[in-house]
């Protein structure tokens, strides 16, 4: 349960981001501070410093001060406090990870149950949909969707997704991992269907809905619970990859993925901007994986996960 403590700690720290930004660091992590100056070790220094050595080209943001109250991890290229953004970014990453995992698990459950239980044409369609999503180039999907979603937003039935909404990465990430969860669930349902108690329920003339909700689902639920923390971890990793392609939380907001992206442009001069959020992901995703393993041991010692990404 040490893993749970780590997850809880990261979540709490990130939830406290506004407290840190406004009460401790006194920096607005969302507005540019290009020509700002701060007091450091008794001297006033610029947040963005023009190079003075050699030919003097280029401007470099201030590096980590290691003073907890002031630019702890330094500034990014907009002169914003990286540590405050790191905390806010964690909130976004955790939110995207968990909401998309919920969506993914819900859709996968419905599809997996329907395919495995009803079989026939429904199963064929479900399986082919899984194949298509699995083999589809998500980067293309992501880039195209991002252009449409970022510029004008989109209406899916009653649901309106505004430009730059956090629902954009959530939906994309939720969708691409549906086969990952849905396929094993379908397999479990297939083997459940052969078992006596389901056959007995079918024989007794119970409705499909009744069998699915009372007999099948409770037996699948432990697997879903095992999947969930793993999916949160996966989704956080995917969020960071999608940010590499510019599809994610939109500026000036931040997620760990977008902060890494900002930091890559500063890797040679201010590596901490990229390294810190990466470590945040590694620690959180690692703890979630350990937690998921623990759940598996508790619930479902024989579960086999398809391990490719």
């Amino acid at each position: 349960m040490g893993a749970l403590v780590v997850v809880a700690f990261m979540v709490t720290a990130c939830l406290l981001a506004p407290v840190y930004a406004h009460q401790i660091a006194h920096e607005d992590p969302f507005s540019s501070n290009l020509l700002g100056r701060i007091r450091l070790n008794g001297r006033m220094v610029s947040v963005l410093q023009a190079n003075t050595q050699g030919a003097g080209y280029g401007v470099t943001p201030i590096g980590p001060t290691w003073h907890f109250t002031n630019y702890f991890l330094g500034a990014d290229n907009q002169g914003r406090d990286v540590f405050a953004r790191f905390l806010y970014g964690g909130r976004a990453s955790l939110l995207i990870g968990s909401v998309s995992a919920v969506i993914c698990c819900a859709v996968a459950t419905v599809m997996g149950l329907a395919g495995g239980y009803f079989g026939g044409a429904i199963d064929w369609v479900v399986s082919r949909l899984f194949d298509i999503v699995w083999a589809f180039p998500i980067y293309l999907l992501a880039i195209s969707l991002s252009v449409i979603l970022l510029t004008s937003g989109v209406n899916i039935g009653p649901l309106h997704i505004g430009p730059g909404s956090m629902m954009v990465p959530i939906l994309i990430i939720g969708a691409i991992f549906v086969p990952y969860v849905g396929r094993p669930l379908r397999g479990i349902v297939l083997s459940l269907k052969e078992r006596e108690f389901i056959q007995a329920a079918i024989g007794s003339g119970a409705s499909d809905w009744h069998i699915l909700s009372r007999e099948v689902f409770p037996n699948v639920a432990p697997s879903i619970i095992v999947f969930f923390p793993l999916m949160v971890a996966f989704d956080m990793l995917t969020e960071s990859s999608l940010s590499f392609l510019g599809i994610g939380v939109q500026p000036p907001n931040a997620s760990w993925g977008t902060i890494i992206q900002d930091g890559l442009g500063l890797l040679y001069t201010r590596p901490w901007v990229a390294i810190a959020p990466g470590l945040g992901i590694v620690i959180t995703a690692g703890a979630l994986n350990v937690f998921g393993d623990g759940l598996r041991d508790a619930f479902d010692p024989k579960a086999k996960l398809r391990g490719s990404i």
């Binding site: 507005s31 023009a50 050699g54 880039i143 970022l150 730059g164 500026p251």
Partner: protein, 567 residues
């Protein structure tokens, strides 16, 4: 910093001097010692290795519109005339190339007569004849040259060729006489910039046997000191010496130094820089990553070359939809943006200078002025947020949502984030819309996309005032609903349009008066229209390897690759 910001294809364009016809014919002024100075054969030989992250598209000089290849075409192709291959102001001057002399202009500026040099051969060994010249003119239309409809349609027969390119003859427009070796070009109207347009690579003379369609990745023989030996857009291109080349006019086509010039594609910019640092490559085409500048200027200062460019980074505001259909709102943004902040995002004061005008400094017609400034000076002092906020309030646009469309590369999106922050601080609700490089440039032009404000760049085709003012801000450059509508602000002011036409006509007779008029137009556009926020004029920074010598910069073509020494 500048070049890859652009879509590769729409590329960055080059310059020609805004000289009147008569100005061009006059002797070339101010040519500093450069490519035309004495050839130093002890430096000849070796292989020059240029690095670029990706290829620049088709290799066809009559189609390609990227700086990446225009820079190479200087050593591989010639037109009847070309820009002088020297450093300094002289590099804007048009000199005779395949023609013996600059053309005789008669018929009130409508007839140009060129005499073709004898004895010049293409790299396939065939002599250059007047028929090659005729077919090259026709080919401009047959390959749907990007500017066939905006530059070359002034030739008699051009409009017909535009309508049906396949059957283009340019009858009455281009006439050749093999016995006297002359080429006569007739124009529909006098055109002060026609020679400049012939001096860019679109005007290259190619063999009559060149295919009548975009040759793509197949090299076409040329007359320059080098020829393309191979081209693979995924790995690289190789230029070797043209075995049939002999110097006929060093200012037009000098002899180069390296025996071979390679351009390799397919690595990241970061590793290109590392390769040049370690001497595994000689030059980086792409913009240098900003986080490498500190290291480069400390350790490799002697290998960096910085030169001013006549180019603008600017924020066009859509003058046809809210909130920027309101003049006060546009003026407010002009007051609010701190151009020094944008400069610092670009790499600091040494790599860019803030600007308040549409014309860049050093341009014909340029007058330093600053309509929206802290205080009243003509030199930029900083933003005036109080004025900006008051103007937003007065305009009644406060609280409106504004979308800022930028490209998603680091520098552009950084400037975009800064603009977003400023717009929020003066009372708008700004969102940033970062798009891929290739989408953004056409996306912001199309009125269907309802872009309110964007970040864009313009690199001159010509240092002619019209190339900024008329091309970017006249009614004729505004095509609602089209992806090609370079007047991004959608600004159309009939009175200013009339003034621009007057200035253009004046260029033929009185260049000085024309330039003065262009200067007035520039100031009037900013004070009465404010369709843009001009941000800064960028500089070109070249990073070469330690072994490279004889770096020379053309304002027209940037670095002369063929003049570099690797020995």
């Amino acid at each position: 910093m500048s070049r890859p910001m652009f879509t590769r294809r729409i590329g960055v364009l080059l310059a020609s001097f805004a000289m009147s016809l008569f100005g061009v014919i006059a002797a070339a002024p101010g040519a500093t010692a450069g490519a035309s100075s004495t050839y130093q054969s002890q430096h000849a030989g070796g292989t020059l290795k240029l690095l670029a992250s990706t290829a620049g598209g088709t290799l066809d000089p009559q189609v390609n519109y990227t700086l990446q290849y225009w820079q190479l075409y200087q050593a591989t192709y010639d037109g009847l005339v070309s820009f002088q291959k020297v450093t300094g102001a002289g590099s804007f001057v048009v000199v005779p190339d395949l023609a013996v002399a600059l053309p005789k202009v008669t018929n009130g500026g409508k007839t140009y007569t060129f005499k073709l040099r004898k004895g010049i051969k293409f790299s396939n060994g065939k002599p250059v004849t007047v028929n090659d010249v005729l077919s090259s003119f026709q080919r401009i239309f047959k390959v749907s040259n990007p500017n066939a409809g905006s530059w070359y349609n002034v030739i008699v027969g051009g409009p017909a060729c535009l309508a049906t390119p396949a059957t283009c003859t340019l009858k009455g427009g281009v006439a050749v006489n093999a016995s006297t070796n002359t080429v006569t070009v007739n124009l529909l109207t006098p055109d002060a910039e026609f020679l400049d347009q012939l001096a860019v690579p679109f005007g290259s003379i190619l063999p009559a046997t060149a295919p009548a369609k975009d040759a793509g990745s197949t090299p076409i023989p040329g007359t320059g000191a080098y020829m393309f030996k191979s081209y693979n857009p995924n790995t690289g291109l190789v230029m070797v010496r043209n075995p049939y080349f002999k110097v006929w006019s060093a200012p037009a086509q000098p002899k180069g130094y390296p025996n071979e010039i390679d351009m390799n594609f397919g690595t990241t910019v970061e590793s290109e820089v590392t390769a040049v640092e370690n001497g595994q490559g000689d030059w980086v085409f792409d913009a240098l990553p900003s986080d490498r500048l500190q290291q480069l200027s400390t350790k490799y200062a002697a290998q960096l070359h910085v030169n001013s460019l006549t180019a603008d980074w600017y924020l066009p505001m859509n003058t046809n939809i809210a909130p920027f259909n309101n003049l006060k709102a546009r003026q407010a943004v002009n007051y609010a943006i701190d151009k020094n902040a944008a400069v610092s995002l670009f790499g600091g004061k040494l790599l860019a200078s803030p600007t308040c005008t549409i014309l860049p400094p050093g341009f014909p017609g340029y007058v330093e002025s600053c309509a929206y400034n802290k205080g009243t000076g003509s030199k930029y002092n900083g933003p005036d947020l109080a004025k900006a906020k008051a103007l937003v309030k007065a305009s009644g646009t406060k609280g409106m949502a504004v979308g800022i469309v930028v490209t998603n590369d680091p520098v552009n999106s950084a400037v975009g984030q800064y603009v977003q922050s400023v717009l929020n601080s003066i009372g708008y609700k700004a969102t940033l819309k970062p798009l891929s490089n290739n989408i953004q440039f056409t996306y912001i032009q199309n009125t269907k996309n309802k872009v309110q404000i964007s970040l864009s760049q313009w690199y001159q085709d010509y240092p002619a005032a019209s190339d900024f003012l008329k091309v970017l801000l006249s009614c004729s450059a505004f095509h609602p609903g089209s992806d090609n509508s370079i007047n991004i602000a959608g600004y159309c002011n009939k009175a200013i349009d009339a003034k621009m036409n007057k200035a253009e006509a004046l260029e033929l007779t009185n260049p000085t008066a024309a330039n003065a008029l262009w200067g007035q137009i520039d100031q009037q556009l900013m004070s009465a229209g404010a369709p843009w926020v001009p941000l800064f004029n960028p500089k070109q920074i070249d990073f070469v390897s330690k072994r490279v010598g004889n770096y020379q910069f053309s304002r027209q073509f940037y670095m002369y690759v063929d003049q570099l020494w690797v020995k």
